[in-house]
Symmetry: D2
């Protein structure tokens, strides 16, 4: 079978995570075909060369447009800043490439829709990097819910909190400007949480949100005393109603001291509950009323070979996966989707929905009222 040849745009935090996954996935999973790490694009040619070498890619370029039109590339992998996703994806789609993009897909729902429709029209495959749902533990959570093991879901409480901007003396960067990043914690972590909540519960039908930029000015490196004005949110939370009638709250913060990868949720059903904490990503706590009352309790399930995908990493339970392992599962989905010409999830349309909800959240805050989700 033809190998899948990858072109990677962007070699920062996420670019590296993708590179590691392209290298490790074939040894982890029985893939249907090979992966060829073909080309890296980075704005600076020297950096591009260095990263191609480090990441084990064959070629490099300082011009991402060259990458997206290169005939030796099957998939364009976009790990560039958010504001560039649209332009890059549309160019790749136009060149007939499959697109694997980091999240959030776009700075607005309207942009995301344009990208989605272009991809669907072109018939290329798309996958967006909402990697947390790829975790075997999260897959197990969904399986438990789908099986009805906790009954009908009646409540969801989820957070995605970190503290990477909690220190108000951290310098101003382009990430704090709307034109480059769009929203703040909402797009960065909130988008994952939205995707996850709907993955586990049901589509949201209505929401009411509140948003705050707590640290409005941050020092700029240019001159002592100078500051830049932060244009996007430090913390956001919302109440939601889901299509199945469940209630929920979602919260995201980048200033929540002590939280390092605080993707956390509790799902309550009519027969049981689940609790998950991303900082302990190979554990799931399950409570079910099947147990006799005097022996009931949240049980801490350690992910193991009985659970989805885990056995590919390790045959012993509880040995634990790491952050980068979730990307390996994602890459497996990418390669298998392309190899078998089957749909991938979450694709651009699914990611578009996340953008719709993000827009609704900002609208709800601006209008200080509940908003219906129309899509």
């Amino acid at each position: 079978m033809k190998p899948v040849r990858v072109g990677l745009i962007g070699t920062g935090y996420m670019g590296k995570a993708h590179a590691i996954a392209f290298k490790s996935a074939p040894a982890i999973f029985p893939l249907s075909t090979d992966i060829v790490c073909e080309m890296v694009a980075e704005v600076d040619a020297e950096l591009a060369a260095q990263k191609a070498r480090e990441f084990g890619f064959n070629r490099f370029t300082a011009d991402w447009r060259q990458l997206v039109t290169d005939p030796e590339i099957d998939v364009v992998d976009i790990c560039a800043p958010n504001y560039l996703h649209k332009e890059m994806a549309l160019a790749a789609i136009e060149a007939g490439k499959h697109v694997y993009s980091e999240k959030p897909l776009a700075l607005s729902a309207i942009d995301a829709l344009e990208m989605t429709e272009a991809a669907e029209k072109a018939g290329v495959k798309t996958l967006v990097g909402f990697n947390y749902t790829k975790n075997p533990t999260i897959q197990l959570a969904r399986e438990i819910i789908s099986n009805g093991e906790i009954g009908d879901v009646v409540h969801f409480r989820g957070t995605f909190n970190e503290d990477y901007l909690a220190d108000n003396q951290l310098p101003f960067t382009w990430r704090l400007k709307r034109e480059f990043s769009g929203s703040g914690t909402l797009g960065d972590m909130g988008s994952h949480l939205i995707n996850l909540a709907e993955f586990l519960v049901a589509p949201m039908t209505e929401l009411c949100a509140d948003i705050q930029t707590v640290h409005r000015e941050r020092p700029t490196p240019d001159q002592p005393g100078n500051t830049g004005t932060v244009e996007n949110d430090d913390q956001v939370h919302l109440m939601a109603r889901f299509a199945n009638g469940a209630m929920g709250t979602l919260e995201s913060s980048r200033i929540a001291w002590g939280r390092k990868n605080g993707l956390w949720f509790e799902v309550t059903g009519t027969r049981g509950s689940l609790i998950y904490d991303q900082e302990r990503l190979s554990e799931l706590q399950l409570f079910t009323n099947d147990d006799r009352p005097s022996r009931q309790g949240f049980r801490r399930i350690l992910t193991g070979p009985q659970h989805p995908d885990y056995a590919n990493f390790c045959v012993s339970a509880g040995h634990g996966l790491g952050y980068n392992d979730m990307k390996a599962v994602e890459v497996r989905d990418l390669i298998e989707g392309i190899a078998a010409d089957k749909p991938m999830w979450p694709d651009f349309r699914a990611a578009y929905r996340v953008n719709v909800i993000m827009d609704a959240i900002e609208q709800s805050h601006a209008e200080h009222q509940w908003i219906q989700i129309s899509v």
Copy 2:
């Protein structure tokens, strides 16, 4: 000094907790005066007699009106169902007694206000049983916040979830009717959480709430197949803004499988955070950015003799207090307040505020919009 003579109305769950506290408090604390357990009132005379004997009270009556006017009673302690609080408290106040009442104070803010004004006019002392703030661990949390150890509070997330009605086959009772209980989980647990949130953060200025009765019909014991219609809430949550600008969410449920005493909160400040879980009531988790970065982490503080009130129970740290111990602190506050003729907290006025917020929550849900808190 004159002893404080107590009349206890109601001998159920809370009545017993109060009785234990009246007995244990004098051995735990160096009280300024003695407590005399004078009289118990219970609707059934035989039960009243039995409970007086069990609880170690001198006399009993089947007529609470007799108790509130008895000249040998200094404090009337109301542990009767919510809908009776008002009538009993007003009668006690009229008789010139101090009043110690369980929460929520009343079925509505207007009733609570009437009770508050009556007590203030009569010059009697009042105390309402929001016992969770009496926990040394919670007092420590407040001390840490007041000291500025976590900086300015920017977010509060609190829940008070239990599962005592999660099973939808549990029979219908009077507690599920508005005329007897008022609201459901909102009054039962939500009221505690409201009181606690304001104790730790600041007064709420605005809120937006959502409420649900998930199990609308429950079987009545009379005949198989018959059901009663539940009139109050199974789960409620809300977003709030506090006077200091902080955002918050509060949530309460009586159908949250697995949660047994799920009073839980996380307070995030500009310099650190606190996490508390009532199911581990002698632990507080503190994160502070004072620690150097590579050694930062939530630290689990076990309550001990360095913390408020703990040393009275035990001179060794980490030996742990229980639920009933919080009531002993509350009784200490009651006795010392009366003995020294000084204000107690939370008094009727403070409890009235909780009723105001409870009303605003129900209004917000009914009107499906944000509501300003006017008091």
Copy 3:
């Protein structure tokens, strides 16, 4: 029925815990008879008077011999330092009193045996304050083991670690001298652990121990630079074999930084396991292979009304008991044992066995070899 009249010797840490329990137990439990708090003995008359008043006892004395022979006393409760237990208990027995003594019962097995035989010959009842086994959670653990829910026990690992002497600048006290305290952490906490291990598993048949005094000199308050020589153990651990063939390790330390009430154990059986941590005294973690493999995990059971004795404290699960509550259960056992003229556990003979094992531990260390337990 005749009330049980109590005489309490010693009003320090444990004396106060006992006093609280005598006051609270009747309100907590449906006792068969009343408790009369009759007399307190303390070396200093003024202190004795003050404590009698604080603890709510009728009379006081500065001469414990007067207490043990007082005709109005039914039970002598010994909360005096360890080296006085024997003399006091023998005097009380001679006076025909029941004896409730703190642990360890004696400074040596031979003393404990003398006390045991005296009590048995006199036909008085005895109870020794190994209070941790009174915790409903520990009772549940035993019930689970006895039911065979974790199969046959094959391993026990237990610790009882605290840090109250971890700071080597803490001053020298009489507790650090053998003539007054006997052993150090071994008698103080190790004795509880020995009692608990045999309660849960089986009698020990053989052991091999190691003991250390880490901080050999501590400052005396008399003059800067002066020190006293510590004569008993800071840390002790041992391997054991139990009569049922199980292996085990036991460890106790008073210098284990961070451990505040670190009575912790894990019991492994052929079908499951239990984990307990006294710092979370209302939780028990149970793993059983009855659960299907993909849903197995340690479940955190919160003690509740389905479990032994809990409902007397509170009708809601997970509300939590505290350290003093265990003493209330112990007092219940004392009163019911006397009232019904039935055996109590652990009595002097059971406590003697603990002294036998403590002696074997010290012998094993001294001889640097395994020792058979002969009783």
Copy 4:
């Protein structure tokens, strides 16, 4: 610089983990040279071919002797069963290859010594797969201890418990025979714990051990009712003294229900303590008496970019490493050691020491007494 060409013997559990690491390490770390995955050896040629393809190796063989003498191989990586380590390593050393071997190095100390001396004489580099010490969290633990942040170590309590043979109906395999596996849980997990204890504390000088085979017969697949006799240990524990005077207990079990990767330790020093749990491999709990008493507590440090090696995996703290990531660090050490011609740790001599202690443990059990460690 010349690449390092790897020959991998064995493609089971560990072989796969090594393969993943050879692929991912170059993308994770800035290695000094390239890794060439040259050849795989597996007993069955077809399986060898399949695994070479899956793992991304250039060639394969069904004869490991061909691999060890192949001129295109620089390092022989031994992931074959324990009883083959010696023969393979000696052959590889004779062929002048560097050797990377799984643990335990050999079935006995005498064999390990022969291997060590052969390697040292030949001047080849060696590395043994005690991977747990490669975890950034464990490196942090060692750094904290080395810095004196917890003072002088006075106690170590470590376990390495799993439950993979807890079910006594699991079939008999060659791993349960001494000639193929040597000891049981002692070699499998105990060897890691020994290595770790000495890494963190000091060399052991003396020990006393107890060992048990709980399930002595297991069904053989040949015929219902037939069983095979288990020849090695299900559980082992020991007391030790370390060269610095510290006391310790070590325990390992393969029948400890509920423990999945239960490498757990607590190190107590004169100024603080550390707790670690491999099932939460990116957390370290640190207690230090530097904190003021009322704010002391075990703090949960989430491994992050401030800690050793972590930033290579991820720039955000708390995102978590997995089991396979530790092998990537190990491979980094292997490649850098060869590239820079510098010593690696743990080499054969360090692994020999582990075998010495394993032998002493078995001797101690057999002789039922304390044993001095002579090396």
